[in-house]
Amino acid sequence: MPGSNGKLREISRRTALGALGAGIVGATVASWPRLTGMDIPGRGDNSLSIAILGTAADAAARQRVIDAFAKVHPEIKVKVQAIQAADWKDFFTKILTMVAAGTPPDVVYVATEGAQLFAEKLAHPLDEYLRRDAADMKEYFADVHPSLVEAFMYKGSLFQLPIDWNAANMYYNTSALQQAGLERPADNWTQVDFRNNLAAMRKARPQDFTPYYWTNRLFGGVVPWLYANDTSFLKESKSTGGEWLWDSFYAQDPSRGLRSGGYQWLEPNADDPRVYESFDYLRGLVKDGLGVRPEEGGGNSLVGLFASNRIGMTPAGGYWVEGLHEAGMKEDDFDVQFFPRWRTQRHQFGTAGYAIMKTAKDKDAAWEWLKFASSLEAMRLVFPTPNTTPARRSMVNEQLYAGRGPKHWKVFYDTLDKFPTTGPIPAPPQQAAVETALMKNVSLAVSGDENQLKQALASMQRDLEIALRRQA
């Protein structure tokens, strides 16, 4: 409304502008702590900043561990920063941007996918601390399978302590199996048995049902089939060194002779005839309507589809149990079995644990966090439900899966014991480029005729050569 006189109107405008300015200044002053970035963990104080993949809720879930840690180490302040990301690759990208921005965290929760990237460029080896605190750490290593530890060895040094892990086992829908007149597969079932089971399920349910659903990812995609066929898309070798660790903590372990200074993936292997054979097998499943053409990066809808009885089988790890339970599946509605045998029954697994960054302000404090986080007390607080498989064997027990299933939960840890050559996700320091080179050719390889498969594998070989030539 116009003012009743000019002066009043002018004053009103000025007053409005003044109020706006005062408001901006007020808001700036009021929000000053945020604007200065004091809420970024570790910035501006001596707190140990820890980055994890997850949501704010995941960070909050760690609070009980932080509180427990504070009782043991009141002198070390800890801040957990949850970083939301679509997958581990995305998470590492965000950590790298934090490094570029000059605000790297002190400790990062890193999965196998990024273990060698961090070991090569960003992380500090744990060797000195493990030697110093060997007596304290004996109990931890006695409870953790050496295969998981070896996944975090790089050029003879250990960079992380495994906290959780998952192997690519085979989940199946019990009612789909029953409808097809099938029984639980044997422990040593083969790829032929697997295909026959899928065919039976397809026959029993020709519509609105997929016998085998798989996704195009580094974990649980084509790699478990390659491992089962005693091959991989990268040539796998092992580096020397690391005896100090194996002799200190695993001298009596039956698989001691298999252990090394860490995995190496230095050359592409997509031109191996067994790789062709594995892809051709999967191509056959797709062609005959037994398996889907895998989408890149898919998997978000998988729990829902499986829980609604529209999928017969799919590869996944122990991390799936809680999701299926929350999606309404009863403990007898699904079960898990080892991945089928081909030339071997070697499984693929991924593990994760904390890594200390080279740039950490206080590495000793960071080590105390790692040590505490790997303790039984801390891990019980972090994993009250089976939303992953704890690295400690003693925690993978009936109590963890009670009321949730699966009936054969022992399959999870038995995978490591029964198949000691079970290996980690192939992830050299150039993991991002390698993963892209693999994933971009998988769909083409399994979706067309033999010629298209040959072309896709040739393209994969070329892309992998380029990827491995790149600097990590």
């Binding site: 116009p2 003012g3 009743s4 006189n5 000019g6 002066k7 109107r9 002018e10 690759k89 990208t93 790298l96 941007t97 490094v99 570029a100 460029k121 960003l122 997929t210 659903y213 195009n216 889907v292 053409r293 895998p294 989408e295 890149e296 990066g297 978000n300 809808s301 589809l305 529209r310 150039q430 991002a432 480029a433 892209t436 994933m439 971009k440 050719n441 998988v442 769909s443 083409l444 979706s447 896709a456 393209s459 070329r462 892309d463 380029i466 790149r470 600097q471 990590a472």
Partner: protein
């Protein structure tokens, strides 16, 4: 009262002006002159500062970075034109640029064609209240997050369980592998992109159509022009300035397409939907080759500039200003 105020203000302004013209002035007048000199700069300063800091500096830094090898972690090392040479030889980069050009040709043609057709329909055939509704409805997808839309579309186009294939099954069409074949993926990426972006071009065309005088159409009718002939000989020529703006903006946007292919297909299968900006992202943030990423960025920028310059140059022949 308001008239008096206006008069008073005018007098005050005129008074100040006459004193300035007379070259006289007291200290306060001199301060007033000074204030008039720096006041525009004061108002412009935040924008200039912002542009400098957040636009000019990154552009220059990006160009400089294109001549260095840098992985964030180690110190950058000067490599001359090596990054450009490697980028040009990289088959993935070449394919991604080719994909981008193909995408621009198809997506922009669809976007502009659809927007123009709908704009003419809405403007001509619909009552005023429905026009308002459709303007908002067609613009609505643009305000949605491209990533969210793409995630949603990914579900819709799932081969086994997607709604699109479910609907197609009613007319006897078997499940289409939308996201797992090169042709299907490209089609979905283009479809989703056009669906989300045509609303902006539509609004531009609505504005352009509204500015065409009705007398022109009346004159054309008297001359015997009807239906599509009227649009061909009146609407299109008179809408050409708007078409130029719409096409320049659409092409620049389409050349930078990222969200839809990244979320829908991750560039696959193979490299079939990998775009130039995706390769920039992958080089920088997944492979830590910031120099190469910058080199690709520089090349893309030059392409965008060249296409835009060509459009403006061609516009002299095809754009008619009233």
């Amino acid at each position: 009262m308001s008239t008096a105020t206006t008069g008073m203000s005018t007098k005050r302004r005129n008074g100040a002006g006459s004193k300035r013209r007379n070259g006289g002035g007291t200290g306060s007048e001199s301060f007033g002159r000074q204030r008039q000199r720096w006041l525009p700069w004061a108002f412009l300063a935040p924008t200039i500062l912002g542009m400098g800091l957040f636009t000019l500096v990154p552009i220059v830094a990006s160009v400089v970075l294109a001549f260095f090898r840098w992985d964030i972690i180690s110190a950058p090392s000067f490599v001359g034109f090596d990054n450009f040479a490697e980028v040009v030889q990289d088959p993935t980069v070449r394919v991604s640029f080719l994909n981008t050009i193909m995408f621009v040709v198809v997506a922009v043609a669809l976007q502009l064609g659809l927007a123009l057709a709908l704009a003419i329909m809405v403007q001509e055939k619909l009552p005023a209240w429905l026009r308002v509704f459709f303007r908002s409805a067609f613009f609505f997808p643009l305000i949605l997050s491209a990533a969210s839309v793409s995630i949603f579309m990914r579900y819709l186009f799932n081969e086994q369980f997607g709604v699109v294939n479910w609907l197609l099954s009613f007319v006897g069409i078997p499940a289409v592998p939308w996201l797992t074949t090169p042709a299907g993926s490209a089609a979905v990426v283009i479809l989703v992109y056009v669906w989300q972006n045509f609303g902006f071009s539509f609004l531009l065309f609505i504005g352009g159509l509204a500015s065409i005088p009705t007398e022109t159409y009346e004159a054309a009718s008297i001359d015997g022009a009807t239906g599509w002939r009227k649009h061909l000989h009146v609407t299109l020529p008179l809408l050409s300035p708007t078409t130029l703006v719409a096409s320049v903006m659409a092409i620049i946007n389409a050349l930078q397409v990222f969200d839809q292919p990244y979320v829908l297909t991750r560039g696959g299968p193979g490299d079939s939907t990998r775009t130039a900006v995706m390769v920039i992202f992958e080089s920088a943030f997944q492979r830590l080759e910031f120099g190469q990423a910058s080199a690709i960025g520089v090349i893309l920028t030059l392409i965008i500039m060249a296409i835009t310059a060509a459009q403006f140059r061609l516009s002299k022949r095809f754009v008619f200003y009233q």
